[in-house]
Amino acid sequence: MMENKKINVDGLIDSLLNMTKNHPEILDDMLRERGYNPEQLERNGIAQIKGLMFRAQVNQKKQQQENLYAKALSRFETAKADTKEVILSLLRERAPKLQFRNLEKLEEDDLKEILNESDILDLMEQIDKSDIA
């Protein structure tokens, strides 16, 4: 007699899966009955996956950019004895599309720094392209 009352758990799970396959809203109702907000759960889940993907990309890019930057820096000649006017015209010549804001106000050392950074970005691009090639 007892054997007849035995519950077939696998069978129950299968029927639940079949039922929710055709009517997924049943799952939402079940969550709501237990006090959860299915829409919020979905949003949280998606945000968590996006967050993990973001972290993975940051780690990868950080390594990549730092390597490129270190390589560019090691190839770079820092000492430049040019005057402010020469540096300004060099900046304009090298990067005609560059938007210059407040540059005229800056000191010579600041301008040299910007020129250096502009050169480093050029070098990083070259190294990156040659690495790919």
Binding site: F54, L106, I114, L121
Partner: protein
């Protein structure tokens, strides 16, 4: 098409699954957008960004004392990267561009972007709700949102729950002011004039006096900063100063109880 910096900031947080803006590492966001962050000696500015070939070098001043201020500077530079980097760009930012009183549209946009990224409007309003305005509230919001006191004051003017007015002065001269829409006071053209002689800001410029945290709300009169109308009474008001000795600047926050 005109860009909306606040929408871009909101979309960025959403696209990257960053639910808690207060915990976001802005340096990571710059790296994600192919940038490198360097902390360097920048005697004439707080931040600098140069962008070429889709890559950026963001330099931030090592002289910035507070991590919250550093975070706002980085968010501002990220704004330039996302909003103004048509292949190549260079921006140099000091107190004038970060405070927004030099109203170049690109600086205003970078500040709007940084403000929404660090202090989303809805969350900011929620945090102000039912809180009485005091300097302590500004300090606790700065801690909560992990951003500078100054940026909190400007956000509070737009989305806070109590009318306030802020006067920004440098070397004793007023540079710029901004007030909440519902702060009904008359402000004459004060730009480039000396700070009022009976203001708390003047105590700093004249006597180098900086009040301790617990005394930072000092009582003044309405007529200290504002012009009285025919039927106005010279009622008490309060002034709280945010001082940046490095630039010799004061942000005076003025309010009525």
């Amino acid at each position: 098409m005109k860009v909306n910096p606040a929408v871009i900031a909101k979309n960025l947080l959403n696209d990257l699954g960053l639910n808690d803006p207060c915990a976001v590492d802005i340096e990571d966001l710059i790296i994600y957008h192919n940038g490198i962050v360097r902390e360097v000696n920048l005697p004439n500015c707080d931040g600098r960004m140069i962008m070429k070939h889709g890559r950026a070098i963001v330099s931030v001043s090592s002289a910035i004392e507070y991590p919250q201020k550093r975070r706002f500077v980085l968010a501002h530079e990220l704004g330039h990267i996302l909003l103004h980097s048509e292949n190549e760009a260079s921006f140099t930012d000091d107190d004038s561009t970060l405070e927004g009183y030099k109203k170049g549209p690109q600086e205003v946009e970078a500040n709007d972007f940084a403000s929404e990224l660090l202090m989303p409007e809805s969350l900011f309003r929620e945090c102000c709700f039912r809180n009485k305005f005091t300097p302590e509230l500004i300090r606790s919001l700065s801690e909560k949102f992990n951003t500078s006191l100054t940026s909190i004051v400007y956000r509070f003017i737009d989305y806070g729950n109590h009318p306030i007015c802020a006067f920004y002065s440098k070397n004793g001269k007023i540079q710029y002011w901004k007030k909440s829409n519902d702060f009904k006071v008359w402000i004459p053209d004060k730009n480039k004039l000396d700070v009022p002689s009976d203001s708390v800001a003047n105590e700093y410029y004249t006597y180098n006096r900086i009040y301790r945290k617990k005394d930072s709300a000092q009582e003044i009169s309405k007529s200290t900063w504002f012009t009285l109308g025919k039927y106005d009474e010279d009622t008490p008001m309060y002034e709280f100063c945010i001082i940046t000795p490095r630039y010799n600047t004061v942000l005076s926050v003025v309010w009525e109880k």
